[in-house]
């Protein structure tokens, strides 16, 4: 891989990579059983520079913010490189958000340029908030011939063959603004520097290296911190190859493992659990003789890899399982949410290690990763090189709030100095997660100190972001909390939301109120729904500006009600 200490910016490092491995394949874009694109590093450069040139001539200069809103595909990475080449700041936005949410984040980021896939653009133009869009240039990809463009320009018509000028950036300059959450409430735009990314990449590839010939299957959206690092920056600075799929239907994902002999893939816990269920079903359907053989071989593999993974041995003992994953899979990478130890153990016993880690967007990508020396299912691994962890105010069991210090910690939240000051204290990132560092230096997580939940699909849900959904419930006041925040559970699984209701003086809790509550709840997407309600008998404490004092209210509820007094909806 490149010696990243030599480079000051992502643009510089990526440019060096494109020149270092011109004939290696860097990108494959597959669509079902077809291939849309296969690019070498040289061809990638040839595709990106005309875009950089055109963007530069359209006014993209150092510090200009450019939003990218695309599903995982080759143009995502080409656009990102062109932006870094011109010294711009990349704002990766989540294509899975609603058009209103995307417009809100676009406005918050003050991106001047937007590069977007046509179907997403079409959806955005239908939003009532579309009129407020303030970008001065919109570039659309995949627009059908003759399609209405609503003022946007076509990617292919926009390119300029003249030589662009590389714009150097310093390590402390902003590279990306990444939104960690807050689509319904206060947007949290993490400003991450070039130095953050270069240090993160260096640390991560020390434990999980890439090299020419490695093929990384990019499924997690590239706007997500993890895929941006392990599905773009990491592979590219090591001469490896990224495989994009234009469809995520399970049958085509399964085929891709085999066809492209995938080396690494990142999956959210929900998908890994799905995979586990699928495998267990297949094992159950085997004849009793084959099933017994499989269990025996799994037990042998488990015993022989107890201290260290041994992929050659595992592939020999369990050839059919490994063949189904393409035969060259080194590890499943997971992150973004907590995964149950039993699931990790299931895969490890089959000889497929899951690189389980812990991180936050605020820390660039990851802080800790399982180093597999030996594998441990009940931790989120050890701190990566360069990461220091501290447990604040530990209880007698050593459990307290996790704080981290590293060169990968963001510089700030965009336009939120107070929130930044609360989150980064004396150089330490206050994570809001509860953990303990064991005798072997592994971090174990035990719940959250902050009022939020993370779904198995890796989505951060802040209760205040969904409260407006219950505005029409006819009660005096209400407040949504994460149940584990109200009643600390020392658990990272089964996280739920609870709506606390305060009725008017003399108002009974009627069926109509409960029905209204259910109706409002159903209007939320499934992962944002509250689990139940709790009727509270006191007025909520409020600030002078009438905001609910959530912390104080939570303390009152903690002292006055038990978790089992929540009525499921």
């Amino acid at each position: 891989m490149l010696d990243l200490d030599k480079y000051s910016s992502l643009g510089e490092a990526l440019s060096a990579a494109l020149d270092r491995w011109p004939d290696e394949t860097c990108l494959i874009e597959a669509d079902r059983d077809r291939e849309n694109a296969r690019l070498t590093y040289r061809q990638f450069k040839q595709a990106a520079l005309p875009l950089a040139s055109a963007l530069q001539r359209a006014g993209l200069a150092e510090g200009t913010r450019v939003a990218v809103l695309m599903t995982n595909q080759s143009k995502w990475l080409i656009a990102a490189y062109a932006i870094f080449f011109c010294g711009g700041i990349l704002v990766p936005l989540d294509y899975k958000l609603s058009a209103d949410e995307q417009l809100k984040l676009l406005a918050h980021s003050r991106a001047e340029f937007l590069i977007i896939e046509y179907p997403i653009w079409r959806s955005i133009t239908k939003s009532p908030a579309f009129g407020s869009i303030a970008t001065r240039l919109v570039l659309v990809t995949e627009a059908p011939a003759g399609a209405e463009l609503w003022g946007a320009q076509r990617w292919e018509d926009f390119l300029d063959v003249r030589e662009p000028q590389f714009v150097p950036r310093r390590r402390e300059d902003a590279a990306c603004i990444v939104y960690s959450s807050g689509t319904g409430g206060r947007p949290k735009g993490c400003v991450l520097t070039h130095g953050n990314y270069l240090e993160q990449c260096k640390a991560l590839t020390t434990w999980y290296p890439f090299w020419p010939g490695v093929r990384y299957l990019s499924i997690l959206p590239t706007n997500h911190a993890i895929d941006f690092m392990v599905g773009f920056i990491g592979p590219f600075v090591c001469g490896a190859c990224v495989v994009h799929l234009r469809t995520l239907r399970p049958e085509f994902v399964r085929e891709a493992f085999v066809r492209y002999r995938i080396t690494y893939v990142t999956l959210v816990p929900a998908i890994i659990k799905n995979l586990e269920r699928g495998l267990r079903d297949k094992f159950d359907a085997l004849s009793s003789w084959k099933r017994s053989m499989l269990h025996a071989m799994t037990a042998v593999n488990k015993r022989l890899t107890r201290k260290r993974a041994n992929r050659k041995l595992s592939r020999m003992l369990l050839p059919a399982v490994h063949k189904a994953f393409g035969g060259e899979l080194l590890a499943l990478i997971t992150g973004g949410a907590f995964i149950e130890p039993a699931t990790l153990q299931f895969f490890y016993d089959l000889g497929i290690p899951v690189a389980n880690g812990y991180g936050l967007t605020e820390a660039c990508t990851v802080l800790t990763v399982n180093d597999l020396k030996p594998f441990r299912a009940n931790t989120v691994g050890k701190p990566l090189p360069g990461v220091q962890l501290r447990i604040l105010n530990p209880d007698p069991e050593g459990i307290g709030e996790v704080a981290a210090r590293s060169d990968t910690i963001m510089s700030k939240y965009l336009d939120e100095p107070e929130m930044t000051a609360e989150t980064i204290v004396d150089g330490w990132l206050i994570t809001g997660d509860l953990g303990r560092i064991d005798a072997n230096g592994h971090l174990q997580l035990f719940g959250r100190k902050k009022n939020m939940i993370v779904t198995e699909e890796g989505k951060n849900i802040y209760p205040e972001d969904i409260e407006s959904a219950f505005d029409r419930v006819p009660v005096k006041e209400f407040c949504v909390f994460a149940a584990n925040y109200l009643w600390p559970a020392h658990s990272m699984v089964g996280e739920q939301l609870v709506v606390v209701l305060r009725l008017n003086q003399g108002q009974p809790l009627t069926d109509e109120i409960v029905e209204k509550l259910s109706e409002c709840n159903r209007r939320l997407v499934n992962y944002k729904r509250v689990h139940g309600y709790l009727v509270w008998d006191r007025d909520f404490p409020r600030t002078a500006s009438m905001k609910i004092k959530r912390g104080e209210l939570a303390e009152q509820i903690r002292a006055g009600a038990r978790r089992d007094s929540v009525t499921p909806l």
Partner: protein, 80 residues
């Protein structure tokens, strides 16, 4: 050639059957994620079922931002 209304109706019927809900509970303007309580993986599963029924190929990216049956029907109808 099917009408858009007919396509929409067939989609509602198929979705109801696929997720085991009463067909009369679903309307063209319903958000299928919310109404059916499904996640994006389950939505992909429904799309595969719809592709088989209509004998078309429906790219995932064509459906970004689509969450109601009516728009889904328009996208499918345009490919018939």
């Amino acid at each position: 050639m099917k009408t858009l209304d007919k396509t929409t109706d067939e989609i509602l019927q198929l979705a109801a059957k696929h997720f085991d809900v009463a067909p009369d509970k679903l309307c063209p303007d319903d958000d299928f994620f919310k109404k059916l309580g499904i996640n994006s993986l389950q939505a992909l599963d429904l799309l595969t079922r719809l592709e088989q029924h209509f004998h078309i190929e429906l790219p995932d990216y064509e459906l970004q931002g689509v969450s109601d049956f009516r728009t889904l029907a328009e996208r499918i109808h345009a490919r018939l």
